[in-house]
Symmetry: C2
Subunit: 449 residues, 2 copies
């Protein structure tokens, strides 16, 4: 939470900062500070559940699920949702909602099909003068687990965004897990699973679901990778099974950073900030603009609009604790700050936004121009909405087809090639004290045989 | 360790298995079983060191380094090795060793240059009929840390394999850390750093080095990703800083799986198995062949050759505890078993090996044909020798240029595009109860303004 001294007024809904202020670097650092609480108790519980499911399989999964989700299933088989139930959920949707979900799926699929080609799915291979062939083969994962949170954060759009890239990559089987506390199923989530082509769905969650997917049980197949967001127990469990299976990122709170030149309708920008803030109290919404009067206008829009929002308490808390309207010297400084923030979502709401996008090195997704509201990307523009949070865009990428593929090197050394490579390898192997390596290379030398 | 019942003779140097035996699946599973010991004491110590370095910075790094590496440095600055010392190490090498190191570096660089192009480094972009532009921008990481183990496992080839892909990707600054217990520096490692273009080298190691790179100190710059192998403390520390920085895989013991048709000189294959076994007692060497007589011949070669190896104790322990010669029904079964093992290194030592390589879905690297000994790939063929171990080739890839890049989605929705996408996004946002998302999309609809 920001020091109240940094607020322009104790009553303002959102902090106002000025990048020219000598304290600004410290203020920005304070604003961005977020550390996922590393609760040792949660970590220990997750570890115990993992060990228990690894040992007792279905029996443990059933016990935890009945206990934590207040169910009374008598077998893990009963926790599976069949394809007919997924199809029924799809058929139950209002026509316009179903059409929207299908259009979103179609656009997400189309984008990831292009990505599949562009990210080198064909692999490569080249032949050297001596006939030696080197290359890389790209193959899809066999089986993937998708974790979908239950309860309030059960988002059908997340089902599409996690499952479709896996399908496009060519993953053979997609297993989805979604907890259903008190037995309440979300028909939109099941419909999204049907549309995305999820193969099997189990109503399990928490660390026990992660364990079941990572180790396999009699009923739940072992997967090769687990993706999708979850609560602190799920995150702790995923971190611990990393290596046994692949995992995606550990997601932090969602963030939006808007760079505006001061000419977009301030209501639009206020609502864009709200759209991030409404996710949860820890979400972060920041606006950078060189025009102080425009920041005033956005602040006024915030004050005017917030009362109209159904999720106004969450929005108000998020904006007050983690939001900021920041006056910058110019657009170049805005881009510099954006690179240091490495935001999950970056809106560049300006004329000719490409000139500024060219200066951005770190961002999960860039939304260019006044019409590219983040909400369009969240649902249906096509690119993935699973994006690196908490400055991890410095080193990681949107979820994509590449997350469901892996590569194998190809080394086919010709007899002639082995003569030159063998001498080099033997020399270096001797340098490292690995004589069997050296001998193995030397055996292939004609002069030594 | 294998049950002695599965051995053809209690005196044999390596287990003999038959894939047609009804117990084979259980025997194979027992053979492959390896679990990195999750020592809670090591994990706690690593956590304490991380917290201490995060809090006290250079002072803590200096204390731990002096204590664990038995040094008496008075500042972290003293622990930096300057470029002139790296160059001096390079100049000190015997000419043939320097030439070998430089040729290896040149070949590794050439391979990764091809990979850079093939893995989609140019990103992509496409324009839809309504003028909406979608795409992805690919950028290198700013700063990367490379961990190089000290002591007996200090391999100059690993310096090349970790640093060169980062350089090819365009990483701005590469920071290498390498512990120097008792102050002993390995000139080959320093020479490799000079050749690979490492920017700065610090003689620190352990969890304190991981902490320094992940959090930064007054002297050691914070990096965006840490790669490279280390001991159990290093692995525990890397696992814990994952998220603050990117990390590569947590490496397990090295493995080789050889598929042979029975026509390669058995001494060659025996030596290939040795070359893996000599790494350490936990390394794994397995041979699959449909010809029982050939397995006898390889067993005889092993018995004949092992006494000649300087590292014979390590080799004998590794082969006895984790090695196997496995009789398969045919080459198809060999490929099926290879897919279930998902080996780090897979040699296909046959005529026309491509026909079998086409059947392999899971392997870190494939070495095709009788002349492609794994040792050539370890040093100088060109592809990376940092490969997924312990069956992680099911979901992960050789270290590559792509590990030092990240992607940003590009979404530039046209005014016209916002009219169709906005309706869909608003419909789905209402379905998820996120009204600010809906409103943000609806503001861009002309009909609503």
């Amino acid at each position: 939470m920001l020091d109240q001294n940094s607020l322009s007024s104790p009553l303002s809904l959102i902090a106002r900062l000025d990048a020219s202020h000598e304290n600004f670097p410290a203020q920005l650092s304070q604003l961005l500070a977020f550390e996922a609480s590393e609760d040792e108790a949660i970590d220990r519980t997750a570890a115990q559940i993992l060990a228990d499911v690894k040992k007792r399989g279905d029996v443990a999964v059933l016990e935890y699920t009945n206990r934590y989700d207040r169910l009374s299933a008598s077998s893990v088989q009963q926790l599976e949702i069949g394809q007919h139930e997924l199809e029924a959920a799809l058929a139950s949707l209002a026509p316009e909602r179903r059409a929207a979900l299908e259009m979103a799926a179609q656009r997400v699929r189309a984008y990831h099909e292009v990505q599949k080609t562009a990210c080198g799915s064909a692999g490569f291979s080249y032949t050297e003068a001596d006939g030696t062939v080197l290359g890389q083969k790209v193959t899809p994962l066999d089986r993937v687990g998708i974790y979908v949170p239950g309860g309030k954060a059960a988002y059908p759009s997340s089902v599409l965004m996690n499952a479709i890239p896996a399908k496009v990559a060519g993953v053979t089987e997609i297993i989805m897990v979604v907890p259903t506390p008190d037995g309440i199923k979300n028909p939109l989530v099941l419909a999204a699973a049907a549309i995305a082509g999820v193969d099997r769905v189990f109503t399990i969650g928490g660390a026990q679901a992660v364990a079941a997917l990572a180790y396999g049980t009699a009923t739940i197949p072992q997967v090769d990778k687990i993706v999708g967001p979850g609560n602190a127990y799920v995150a702790a469990a995923k971190r611990r099974v990393f290596g046994t299976v692949g995992i995606d990122m550990i997601a932090g709170p969602s963030e939006i950073l808007v760079i505006c030149d001061g000419s977009t309708d301030p209501d639009w920008i206020a609502m864009d900030l709200f759209s991030q803030a409404e996710h949860d109290e820890l979400a972060q919404s920041i606006l950078l603009c060189p025009d102080a009067a425009y920041l005033d206008a956005v602040a006024a829009s915030i004050a005017k609009l917030i009362a109209t929002m159904p999720r106004k308490e969450i929005i108000a808390t998020s904006l007050a604790n983690r939001g900021a309207l920041i006056k910058v010297a110019d657009m170049q400084q805005a881009c510099d700050i954006a690179n240091s923030i490495a935001a999950e979502h970056l809106e560049i709401s300006t004329d000719n936004p490409q000139q500024w996008a060219d200066k951005i090195r770190h961002a999960g997704a860039m939304f260019l121009g006044r019409f590219s509201s983040e909400a369009l990307g969240d649902y249906c523009a096509g690119p993935n909405h699973v994006l690196p949070t908490s400055r991890t865009a410095r080193f990681s990428s949107p979820l994509g087809v590449y997350d469901f593929q892996k590569r194998s090197s190809i080394i086919h050394v010709s007899e002639q090639g082995a003569q030159t490579l063998g001498v080099v390898a033997a020399e270096l192997a001797h340098g490292e004290g690995l004589q069997a390596h050296a001998r193995s290379a030397e055996y292939r030398l004609k002069s030594k045989n």
